[in-house]
């Protein structure tokens, strides 16, 4: 046997940099805690932010490299830094930068007093980054599980009965999804002898999909697994409970980051199938997309808790965006990222608004933390908060010119150009259904009188601090002035997606 002789250059370690930074950061935090415990959460927040900013810098560097030299492979060709990886990491890291400071609340919550919370958060970010920056199924799996396990723990750390319940539910179903994923990978491996998606695609194509039945079985397992992550119906059942059980920032985070990671993997996984004209995949995705966005919307209608409503709304949005993978044109894929970037801003705002209104303990006689009645007549007591919350709701409903409208519009347009006219109509009409439940909150805030019982017990902004205000301000500005940002984002995203060959 020859000694293994590999040059460092060929490893192209720079591709690892963005993922490694948060992991180092996490370890760093743990080490600090070992030496000196009881430090304030603000220190950890700032440390995390520091590392995330470094991460962001590394991503910018990677983006620069990508735009010069195209897709990069590294570390025995396991790492794959292409446009998708870069954009999605931007979203992941960017969203994290905004979500982490949300722990700087006025009231003390259990989880934020543990430094492990921040370490886990950073591990999770690293995990997601791994997941999107590879097309090796093993690495995807590892990244996915790293992130998920951290996430389960983070949810559970919120230390409420419901949080445990949420964590257990999420965890158990996640384990099942992991089983699905590994089984699906196994079939692909059995069929092709490879676990790299582009290799699998090549082999299958060369083989002209002679084993179509088994390919489909593998696809089914993959779909089930990512359906879970993306909360597609009927794999969505965890979502409402987990959103309700976890803290508002965590719920908001859940609605954005894990999903974009899963979207990127699904894009890599399903697009080649659709491009090879496997009708079955198209049909199944079509049905799933339609059912997911419609049913989730319908269930959202009947919710009494705002957070739960937003959970269903996120499911619906995910279904909406999943359409991009079905359409799988460059425009659609760009629309996916555009949509998700804009969605992040709006959801960040919406969940942050819920977070500032969060009481430390659930008052007696109130069935859940964020039921609609709590927001009755908000415009009378704090008009600015009401206006901002309404703004986010309108944006989520897709009312122009607020952020999400542009995403919706571009997505519908991509459905039209992709030839999916009916789908475009369904997407449009779903926005109308969705309008109702977003409106419901606005109705409560603007058109009802504040209820006396609540007036005494609830201060709607009990939790607010300067940093939370800042974040909400950023989200507000981002939501209102999105029309200025759409063009640069669109150009950037389209260029990157196109260059990656999607």
């Amino acid at each position: 046997m020859n000694p293994v002789d590999i040059s460092i250059e060929s490893l192209n370690l720079i591709t690892l940099a963005p993922m490694v930074i948060p992991i180092i950061g996490a370890l760093f935090i743990l080490i600090i805690d070992m030496f000196k415990g009881g430090l304030d959460k603000s220190l950890y927040v700032m440390l995390s932010l520091l590392f995330l900013f470094m991460d962001f810098g590394a991503l910018l560097n990677a983006a620069g490299l990508f735009s010069q030299s195209g897709t990069m492979m590294g570390v025995f060709d396991v790492m794959l830094i292409d446009g998708l990886a870069i954009i999605s990491q931007f979203i992941i890291v960017g969203a994290s930068i905004f979500f982490i400071p949300l722990v700087l609340t006025n009231k003390r919550f259990h989880e934020s007093s543990y430094p492990e919370y921040f370490a886990l958060f950073l591990f999770m970010i690293g995990g997601f980054q791994f997941m999107v920056a590879t097309d090796n199924l093993i690495l995807i799996f590892v990244g996915l599980e790293t992130a998920s396990l951290a996430l389960y723990t983070l949810i559970a750390m919120h230390n409420r009965n419901r949080s445990f319940e949420a964590a257990v539910k999420y965890f158990t179903m996640g384990a099942l999804a992991a089983g699905f994923f590994s089984f699906g990978s196994m079939i692909f491996y059995a069929l092709t002898g490879s676990i790299e998606i582009n290799q699998i695609a090549k082999v299958l194509e060369a083989d002209n999909y002679s084993n179509i039945g088994f390919v489909l079985v593998a696809v089914v397992f993959m779909l089930a697994s990512f359906g879970f992550k993306l909360s597609l119906i009927p794999f969505h059942t965890w979502a409402p409970d987990v959103y309700e059980g976890s803290s508002a920032p965590m719920a908001g985070y859940l609605s954005i980051v894990p999903k974009i990671a899963a979207f990127v993997v699904s894009m890599r996984l399903f697009e080649f199938l659709i491009h090879s004209n496997i009708v079955w995949v198209e049909i199944v995705l079509y049905i799933t997309v339609v059912i997911t966005m419609t049913m989730a919307n319908i269930w959202a209608l009947v919710q009494t808790d705002v957070k739960r409503m937003l959970a269903y709304s996120s499911i619906s949005h995910a279904g909406f965006v999943m359409a991009a993978i079905l359409i799988s044109t460059t425009q659609a894929n760009s629309a996916l990222f555009l949509y998700w970037i804009l969605f992040s801003f709006t959801n960040l705002g919406a969940f942050a608004m819920l977070w500032i209104s969060r009481q430390k303990y659930l008052p007696a006689g109130q069935s859940s933390d964020q039921n609609y009645e709590k927001f009755s007549g908000l415009v009378k007591t704090s008009p600015v908060a009401a206006s901002i919350m309404a703004l986010f709701m309108l944006s989520l409903a897709g009312l122009p010119p607020f952020a999400l409208f542009w995403g919706k519009m571009y997505m519908i347009s991509s459905a039209i150009t992709g030839g999916y006219t009916i789908l475009a109509l369904i997407m449009a009409l779903n926005s109308a259904i969705a309008g109702y439940y977003y409106l419901k909150l606005i109705v409560y805030m603007f058109m009802k009188e504040p209820s006396v019982a609540h007036e005494q017990s609830v201060n709607i902004s009990s939790n607010i601090t300067l940093s939370l205000k800042t974040i909400i301000g950023v989200a507000t500005i981002g939501t209102i002035f999105a029309f200025l940002a759409v063009n640069p984002i669109l150009e950037f995203v389209t260029a990157f997606v196109y260059k990656s060959g999607y």
């Binding site: 099942l176 489909l216 089914v220 794999f235 059942t237 209608l301 009947v302």
Partner: protein, 641 residues
């Protein structure tokens, strides 16, 4: 001359606006005098114009400004004073002046005095626009304007339910006809490209007769509404709810003749479509007798006169229908004078009797109201067409026209009507002024109207007497410059004398019968017991042939019911409910299916597995199908699919 035209046209408007300034305040006498004076100014200006037109034979035509212009459509505010319109202007301003002055007395005690003059002058202004406009659109402005003023004036005493009801009825019925008019205007525009009289009529001879027929019909529908021809006649009798000067001016002398004016104005059109003319003539003759019969039994003096108006309008339409436009216009003029006189006389009576209208409750008023009696009797004689009063020259001429054109049925009907006219006119004269005094017992103490009111009426009296023999020749000379100059002379002199004298005798007999029947001492206030009152004929006539009843039962009520059904059943229960239904169905789906989210972890896991199984089975089916596609194809083709 344009100066006079503008004065004639706008003086009434100024008067109206002046009175309107004081509209809401208490009675101010000058709010009555100044409009009256301005109407008189208008009359003077019209007279100057008349002289001008008579002398020079030329017409005055001005275009004040553009009204509407778009695409090819160009409608100016253009006014023309020609032989036809100047006749109408004279009639309108003269009668208006009289009525205005009269009304100063008549409305003396009314708290809406100022308002009344504002409306009345506005009416005159509208009427002037109507007759002076040089295009159909302008005519329509006046047409609607008089309708509006008529609505305001009929409903002048708005606290009275019957008055406001009558006002709305008049307006709505006129609107029905106005639609016809409007359509006629559209037809003219799209086929001639203009609405100016001169150009439109010039273009008409080249058009398809069918289109011309439609134009004629639709315009006539418009005329039917304003002139209250059957079946749109019911509003006229009800319109008597308005103050009596209004009835005199609007519902006798001027507005109701607008329909006749329209047809006369459009004579070039109607000359091209004689079959429509014949229909008009027949309808006119029918209305003449139809209205006259209703007048026979009515117990409301104003209504009797209203029916009489209706009947006379029938004469006029008979004339225009037969192409005797100048005759119709002549009768229109003469009729305006004596009918206004009659109404104003009736107004005096009403005043004296504290708004009592039933002639059976009067009797013997001649003693206390000599002046009025003379005025009304002269007017009735004129109406009956006794030589040498105005009616003789104008009305008998229409009979002659029918005779000469050999429309003997029309002639017969009109002749009979002439007899009826005489009868009912003198029926009320007899009942009011002669016979027993039946009113003192009812607590009435009649008194004669103000002197100046009687004086104001005197011009009408004179005209009712002389306008026939004095004006006929000159009138013919003048208007036939524009209208077809058909002279109606019966070839055989014997025949002429026979029918003329025969008609006179017939009418006189009718008058005699009327006096005989209604002067006798046994006249009592009918109480519904006499045999006559229970006879079918009487009931038919007193109920106006049950036509208002028919309208009420079969049009108004169903319309109301249908409206409510449309609202409550269709709009709310079907259209709106289906919209809400969609929303509710979506919501209900949510409520029903939210059980899927039971919150139980086992169920959730089962859902995941179920999803997997469904997808798997789909995959297997598809995979098998793909693998065995050839066999499946064979089987399917074997099955003939």
């Amino acid at each position: 001359m344009e100066k006079y035209l503008y004065i004639a046209l706008f003086a009434p408007l100024v008067g109206s606006l002046f009175a309107a300034l004081f509209g809401a305040s208490k009675k101010t006498l000058f709010a009555g005098i100044i409009p009256s004076f301005l109407i008189f100014v208008s009359f003077v200006a019209s007279s100057i114009l008349l002289v001008y037109v008579l002398k020079t034979g030329s017409i005055v035509h001005v275009e004040m400004m553009t009204w509407m212009a778009t695409g090819d459509l160009y409608i100016p505010f253009g006014f023309v004073v020609d032989q036809i319109s100047v006749t109408m202007m004279m009639v309108v301003t003269l009668v208006s002046t009289v009525v205005h002055v009269y009304a100063i007395g008549y409305m003396d005690h009314d708290k809406g005095f100022n308002r009344f003059f504002s409306y009345l002058s506005a009416f005159v202004f509208s009427m002037m626009i109507l007759v002076m406009s040089d295009n159909f659109a302008g005519l329509f402005i006046g047409w609607e304007g008089v309708g509006l003023c008529s609505w305001l004036l009929i409903g002048f005493w708005y606290h009275k339910e019957s008055a406001t009801w009558a006002a709305n009825e008049a307006f709505i019925m006129n609107r029905i006809a106005d639609l016809g008019m409007l359509i006629g205007i559209f037809l003219i525009y799209w086929h001639t490209g203009t609405l100016q009289y001169a150009e439109a009529f010039a273009a008409m001879p080249d058009l398809d007769p069918e289109i011309l027929t439609w134009m004629g019909i639709f315009l006539f529908i418009g005329a039917m509404g304003k002139s209250a021809q059957f079946p749109l006649h019911t509003w006229l009798a009800d319109a008597m709810e308005g103050p009596t000067p209004v009835s005199a001016l609007i519902h006798a002398a001027t507005m109701v003749t607008a329909g006749v004016y329209l047809v006369v104005r459009s004579n070039e059109l109607y000359a091209l479509i004689p079959h429509v003319g014949l229909f008009i003539a027949s309808l006119g003759a029918f209305v003449a007798i139809f209205a006259a019969t209703m007048a026979l039994v009515n117990r409301d003096i104003k209504r009797v006169i209203a029916y009489s108006t209706l009947s006379q309008l029938g004469y006029m339409f008979a004339a225009v229908g037969l192409g005797a436009y100048w005759v119709a216009l002549f009768h229109l003029m003469a009729h305006a004078f004596f009918k206004a006189l009659l109404f104003l006389g009736a107004g005096n009576v009403m005043h004296a009797m504290k708004d009592e209208l039933d002639p059976f409750k009067m009797g013997g008023l001649g003693k206390s109201m000599k002046g009025t009696m003379i005025l009304m009797t002269v007017a009735s004689v004129a109406l009956a067409g006794i030589f040498p009063l105005a009616g003789f020259f104008s009305k008998d001429l229409i009979l002659e026209v029918a005779f000469i054109d050999q429309h003997f049925i029309i002639y017969g009907v009109l002749l009979l009507t002439a007899g009826l006219t005489a009868f009912y006119s003198f029926r009320i004269i007899a009942l009011i002024f002669h016979g027993e005094d039946r009113h003192t017992s009812l607590g009435h103490h009649p008194h004669e109207a103000y002197k100046f009111m009687l004086w104001a009426m005197s011009p009408l009296l004179i005209l009712a007497v002389i306008s026939g023999f004095l004006f006929k020749g000159g009138f013919f000379e003048m208007v036939t410059q524009l209208l077809p100059a058909t002279e109606y002379h019966i070839e055989s002199v014997t025949t002429y004398w026979i029918i003329t004298i025969g008609t006179q005798i017939f009418v006189l007999i009718a008058i005699f019968f009327a006096y005989k029947k209604y002067m006798c001492k046994s006249i009592k206030v009918p109480d519904g017991t006499s045999a006559m009152e229970n006879s079918f004929k009487y009931k038919l006539l007193i109920n106006q042939y049950y036509i208002p009843h028919f309208y009420e039962e079969y049009l108004t009520k169903p319309y109301r019911k249908l409206s409510i059904i449309f609202w409550e059943k269709i709009d709310m229960k079907i259209v709106d409910a289906s919209v809400d239904g969609i929303a509710k169905a979506i919501y209900a789906t949510g409520e029903k299916t939210r059980g899927m989210q039971s919150g139980n972890l086992s169920t959730m896991l089962k859902w995941m597995v179920a999803g997997l199984v469904i997808l798997l089975s789909l995959a297997v089916v598809f995979g098998l199908a793909a693998r065995h596609s050839v066999e499946i194809g064979t089987i399917l083709s074997g099955l003939g699919v």
